[in-house]
């Protein structure tokens, strides 16, 4: 399933999913916020949170998978 270029608004769902993620893993939510709402690069995000860029990349990957699944479930 793809959410990206299809017509419609997923921003609200994304926001809800981020909030749900933040409830039990705040750091991942923060990473996503900084990366995609704040327009920060991986390096800037790492700097802002005081963790390594490798960690940022890992956190982001899992967070994306989780958010994607969460949004898909919401759809279903």
């Amino acid at each position: 399933m793809s959410f990206a270029p299809e017509r419609g608004r997923h921003i609200q769902e994304l926001d809800d999913a981020l909030n749900a993620l933040a409830a039990f893993d705040e750091r991942k939510a923060k990473v996503m916020e900084l990366r995609f709402f704040g327009g920060c690069s991986v390096e800037e995000t790492a700097q802002a949170l005081g963790i390594s860029t490798a960690t940022i990349t890992r956190e982001q990957r899992l967070a994306e998978a989780w958010l994607h699944r969460e949004m898909a479930r919401g759809k279903a």
Partner: protein
Amino acid sequence: MTQAQGWERVQEIFHQALEQPPEARDAWVENACAGDPGLHAEVASLLESDCAAGADFVDANVRQAVLDLHEEQTAKPAMEGRLVGHWRLIRELGQGGMGAVYLAERADSQYESRVAIKLVRRGYDTDFILRRFRRERQILARLEHPNITRMLDGGTTDDGIPYLVMEHVEGLWITSYATKHKLGVEERIRLCLPVCAAVAYAHRYFIVHRDLKPGNILVDANGIPKLLDFGIAKLLHAQQPDSTQTQGASMLTPDYASPEQIRGEPVTLVSDVYSMGAVLYELLTGVLPHRIESCAPLALERAICVDPLVPPSVVVSGDRSLARRLRGDLDNIVLRAMQKEPGRRYMSLEHLAEDLQRYLESRPVKARPDSATYRIDRFVRRNRVSVALGAAAAMAVLAGAFAVGHEALIARERFQDVRKLATTFVFDVEDAVRPLPGSTRVRQLITRTGIEYLNSLSRSSARDWDLKRELASAWLRIGVVQDGQESSNLSDPNSALVSFENAGRLLDEVLRHDPSDAKAAFARMRVFYETSDVLRVSGRFREASAAAEAGLRLAKSRIAADPKNTDVVQYDGLFHLDLVRLRQKAGDLNGAESEAEAANRLLRQAAEAKPENRESQLSLSDLYARLGSIKAALGHRDEALASYRNGVSVLEALCRRLPSDTQARRELMFAYSHVGDTIGSSNSTNDNRGDLPLAFEAYGKMAEHAKFLYDADQADARSLGDYGIALLRLGRATPTAGPRKRETLEHSRELLNRAAEGDPQNRTIAVHKIWVETELRDYAAAIATGEKTMISALDDSSVLRMMESAVRPLAEEQARGGQREQALATLDHSLRWAKKVDAAAPQTYTVFVNVARAWQTAGSVYTILANGKTGQRADQDRAAARAWIQRK
């Protein structure tokens, strides 16, 4: 299972699974999760989503959301043909933040008239929008200006949607109009002037347009520009608080919005000045002022709030003749209007319009290249590394300043970063450049830049006491730099005092908030101390005393609260020491003595508590030196000597511990000098102890330390002179005349000659040069040096006295040898200068004594001349001798 349970384990397996080759992954996960079906399901579904999500799925979603919003705003619902009040909608003219504007005509066709109707879009009729709509209506109702579209009517449709009926302007956007008619630079400027006037008119009613942009400035067929859409205009003194400002900010057009609007900060009249500048920018260059490359909020803010604006002439550099037109005045005008800091823009649209008018009339415009930029440019050339740091700090400050929504958390973290950076800037960078010769001006700039950052931070957090303390330390630091005592070539005591005042005010605030704040109290004491110091050096003794006394009161109250705090005890002592100096200056010896006794007790206590602390040892030795001189002046020789000796032992210990501490060693050298002087110099008056061997020993020590300092740094003019002076004292105290004594004195003379060559204005060196020449019986040289020095030393009778000590033996010798003319000529040197000093110098006891010495010498010389022969000449000389002797 809930997410929190086993989440760590899920993550671990998820990441490990991604490292497995795709074909082996499922089996690997199954194995890893063996016996835990819940865990397996969780990881498997996440891995599935990982595959499905694609690399940029979140990014794509955010981007899509922005696009959606845009599309939604531009989507055209079928409104044409509908009736609104008496009007029929013909077609859509444009979109606003909350509705659309339609061309409409009278439905009853009573008369031919076309209007523009602004209609809130269905679904947008929230309270917020409706309130705005009503406000626009109120605002428009107030405004009547030939360059502002008139409101004709307003109402609510049958299904409850509010609308406004406005004068319809058949025209083009101001930019399109200019392009279409191929307007020249001057015509474009002329087109802006009525717009400025219209906005200025609205400003007089405290209405800020807030959304000036080409789309809101239409030019009709007659070439008359009209301002429209006060949709997000704001009444500055509105009755109800505007809690929806951020929402308003998100509706405006970013290309023309001011930094403060982007940041969601309070909007003022000069926000419109900025936007008008942006319109002018586009009109003159055909290019948007900012390069906004991304929809991400932070990227937007960077472009508008941080990135420097490219001057119009640079943007059009492809078109050389246009670039030439824009370069200079027009660049300056646009850049001034578009300053990021509201306070640096034109104060009003009238001012902007006036400057444009001046340009059109070829009169000099008020806008000048940003002087800060100019200064910084200068600074950059001299100090690249520090500037790189400064730029980083500036970036960070601005980045930290905008806090909206999601960015609030970054902003908070950045705020801390900035603060650290600014503090680093003031303290560490400043420390780094301080030892560099001639670095004082750079240091001032550095500190000032840092302070600007800190100031901007303190404005945004008025109750941050830590920050106030930091800011105060920064002011203190810059004050010390301005005071310039560390490198005397750039002393600016008045600025230093202002900086100290700033520091004091901030600390007073902190202390009012929390009187027990020890750090602030300590810093406040330091400020009092430095203030008093500057005032004393500037000769403002009364104010200096007041500062020292205020510091003393603070120190006493802190000691009462915390008697064991030796830092405070030390300050207490230092304030007393300060008062010692001031009382001495005021000639109040008894007052100085009692202050010195108090300082003695406190500084000794502090020095004993902190034997490792260099400063406390130095302060104590300074006190011993002063106490010694006060005791000596009061005639208490034994006590004076004891005090000087105390100083010696403190400094000996310090120099043993810190052998390369030149300041400590120099103090030690002086301490030995004082001991030697007190024990007995050979041109003694009756009241010293005259113990030459002991004095010789002390001067030997003095010379030893002077030599150490001189050997350590032969290029240092001060150590050269010091060594010469020490050898002079040693030579004079050398008990038996002989080659050793002479050698010492010759060496001294050689050093002092070199010192005098290097620094002809130095009076201390000059006096000692006369002295050593006299000691070596080279009276002619001594007198010559004396006369040269006297020219600029009429206020200083000690030079006269020194010269006198060369004149007297020479004139007497000549008189005894019967060389009458030579003797009188020699005598004339001192008499001539004595008369001048008598007339010029203040009438103090010392001056009187030193002048009288000259008369005495004259008496003595005439007596010798009279005794050497008989006759009329002898009688005359005898009479002259009597006259001179009686004169004193």
